[in-house]
């Protein structure tokens, strides 16, 4: 097979690569990214640039994404600005297109609500659509870690499900998974990560070919571990006893084994990452299937099936009887969709188009 490849490729070993336009012509691409995205506090820290940078030197620091010694180390290839969802920011909002709006409760997995994110990825593995699924796992201190699942049995011993409200290194791991995978990869991520994956797929065919299913999560905001852990400890949350975290009716609820800590979400604004401040996407419009707690009965996950791939997996899940189908209520999403759409005002120099006012439930 290798020999065949050689015969077809050797001899015409020339190709052209298009590089993007610079907004600041005299500067390196990383400087462009820094000036347009990072310094303007637009960066969502989805880490797509970290994953693609060929030098591998862009790092996620405690307070922002940085590239130490970029002036000598940057290869000026433009990969970071090609894949950054915020470099040429086109904010998405609303409910987006969908084939089916429903709710489900997985019979196989336990999560925060219906564990439909886990169910979608694991069913895609069962179907043979993908051979690797990426999940965000956490340890006792609620620090996140990305877990590559290849077999449904692996999930029973891990506290995978459940909202973490903490950023994770998903996309750099996704690149590793794409390089290792022979069939395809499935990934679960927040709306900014979903946009990052779509940008990668747009720019590089290898991602288009390998990333088969992207599960988006409903997301109002996501926090950085250092900040949120300090804040919650001040509020009296003991991480060793913490069972789950959730946002319910405008209140942040941290449930522990012995008590509950509740406070208004608005109080978290002091540690709200600046990238979330300009994010208008609540439902992960660009995903294959969006999953979230809001919009369905307790114990169920609202499931927004958007693409044909996701529809196939959804039909497979129903056919195997792995899900209890519930009812999705679109109007319940209105408040949060509107809440996030209002952040358009925070985007520097952005003027919303008139047609884009497709609110939820229309």
């Amino acid at each position: 097979m290798m020999k065949m490849a050689a015969e077809t490729i050797v001899g015409e070993a020339e190709w052209e690569v298009k590089i993007p336009k610079k907004k600041f012509k005299d500067k390196l691409f990383f400087e462009n990214l820094r000036d347009v995205v990072i310094d303007t506090k637009m960066c969502s820290r989805c880490l797509t640039c970290v994953s693609i940078c060929p030098s591998g030197l862009i790092v996620n620091e405690a307070d922002n994404v940085d590239f130490p010694n970029y002036d000598t180390k940057c290869l000026d290839c433009g990969a970071c600005v090609r894949v950054c969802p915020r470099y040429d920011y086109q904010p998405k909002s609303g409910l987006g297109d969908y084939i089916e709006f429903t709710a489900g409760k997985s019979k196989r997995f336990k999560g925060q609500d219906g564990a439909m994110g886990t169910e979608f990825i694991m069913s895609a593995i069962d179907m043979g659509l993908i051979d690797r699924g990426l999940f965000v796992d956490r340890n006792e201190l609620w620090q996140t870690d990305v877990f590559h699942a290849r077999n449904p049995d692996q999930l029973h011993r891990l506290p995978l499900g459940g909202t973490k409200y903490v950023f994770a290194n998903v996309i750099p791991e996704l690149k590793k998974a794409v390089m290792l995978s022979k069939v395809g990869v499935g990934v679960v991520g927040t709306p900014c990560m979903v946009s990052g994956v779509r940008k990668l797929q747009e720019a590089f065919p290898v991602f288009k070919e390998k990333v088969k299913i992207v599960v988006g999560l409903f997301c109002t905001e996501n926090f950085h571990y250092d900040e949120v852990s300090k804040y919650l400890e001040e509020k009296g949350v003991d991480f060793s006893k913490l069972v789950k975290t959730d946002i319910m009716k405008g209140k942040f609820v941290a449930t522990m084994t012995d008590k509950e800590v509740k406070f208004k979400v608005s109080q978290l604004s002091s540690i709200l990452p600046t990238g979330c401040n300009v994010c208008t996407d609540f439902t992960a419009v660009e995903s294959d299937v969006s999953v979230g707690s809001v919009g369905s009965a307790p114990g169920f996950s609202t499931t927004v099936v958007r693409t044909e791939v996701a529809k196939k997996v959804w039909d497979y899940i129903k056919e195997k009887g792995n899900v209890e189908v519930g009812e999705g209520k679109i109007p319940e999403l209105d408040y949060l969709i509107g809440h996030k759409k209002a952040r358009e005002a925070n985007i520097p120099g952005y003027e919303p188009k008139k047609e884009e006012g497709e609110g939820a439930g229309e």
Binding site: M2, K3, A5, A6, I9, V10, G11, A13, E14, W15, E16, V17, K18, I19, P20, K21, I52, C53, P54, S55, G56, L75, C77, G78, A79, M179, F204, P205, V206, F207
Partner: protein
């Protein structure tokens, strides 16, 4: 039922076989047929391709890591030299002398010798550094005779010659399997030019066209030595080594 009878020897047959036996005994008494080499006073002549201790030529090494990748015993580790280049080190405690490293080296930096009789006192000593691989190890030689094994018909005999065998043979430089680097997914190329920067033979080129905002990439199959440096460094893992 079949009965096995005694062979029907005539008197002359018996006399013939007895005489042959006495002849062999007399021959062994005067010129015994002994196929043991009297090492270390004698040394068996090994073929030039004998897989003994390897020698390393840093001038020819291009730090492509192929030897350490191919080593099935994981005996070769690459260590950074003061020059910033990476050179092999060899753990004789692990080495199985398969010489895959010698065969795979695209620059012919590793070569074989007939030296096999090196004694190490400790396990630590068996770990040879790059410097120690450049010069052949010192061995004490007491041999004055070279022994050749001669096989004629079904008999094996030894031929002893008064000479000292050269243990470092002058073998022609290994050409290896000609390989060439190719890009298997051009659409996913970032044009980061790492392959161009790393290539030592000037086979990879990247030319930036400022006006059209494109980078022209090309791999010259003629110049490519198939060392695999670019394959290893490509961040998108879209380069492969294939046979020329």
């Amino acid at each position: 039922m079949k009965k096995v009878g005694t062979p029907d020897y005539t008197v002359s047959d018996k006399l013939k076989t007895h005489a042959a036996a006495l002849g062999t005994a007399a021959k062994e008494m005067i010129l015994p047929l002994n196929i043991t080499t009297h090492y270390p006073r004698e040394r068996k002549r090994q073929p030039d391709c004998f897989r003994g201790i390897m020698l390393f030529d840093p001038e020819r090494c291009i730090s492509c890591f192929q030897c350490s990748f191919v080593c099935p015993a994981n005996a070769i580790w690459m260590k950074e030299a003061p020059s910033g280049r990476y050179y092999p080190t060899l753990d004789h405690g692990k080495c199985i002398y398969c010489h895959f490293c010698v065969d795979t080296c695209p620059g012919g930096a590793l070569r074989t010798t007939k030296i096999h009789d090196v004694a190490f006192k400790t396990m630590e000593e068996m770990f040879t550094t790059t410097e120690e691989m450049v010069e052949p190890p010192t061995i004490i030689r007491e041999d004055e005779t070279v022994v050749d094994y001669v096989i004629d018909k079904e008999d094996l005999s030894l031929k002893r010659t008064k000479e000292v065998d050269e243990l470092i043979p002058d073998v022609p430089e290994s050409k290896g399997v000609p390989m060439v680097s190719v890009c298997v997914d051009r659409g996913s190329c970032i044009a980061c030019k790492i392959c161009d920067q790393i290539c030592e033979s000037g086979a990879v080129s990247s030319v930036k066209d400022e006006a059209a905002m494109t980078v022209k990439m090309s791999i010259d199959a003629e110049k490519c030595t198939g060392c695999g440096l670019c394959v290893k460094e490509c961040s998108m893992q879209i380069l492969r080594l294939v046979r020329k």
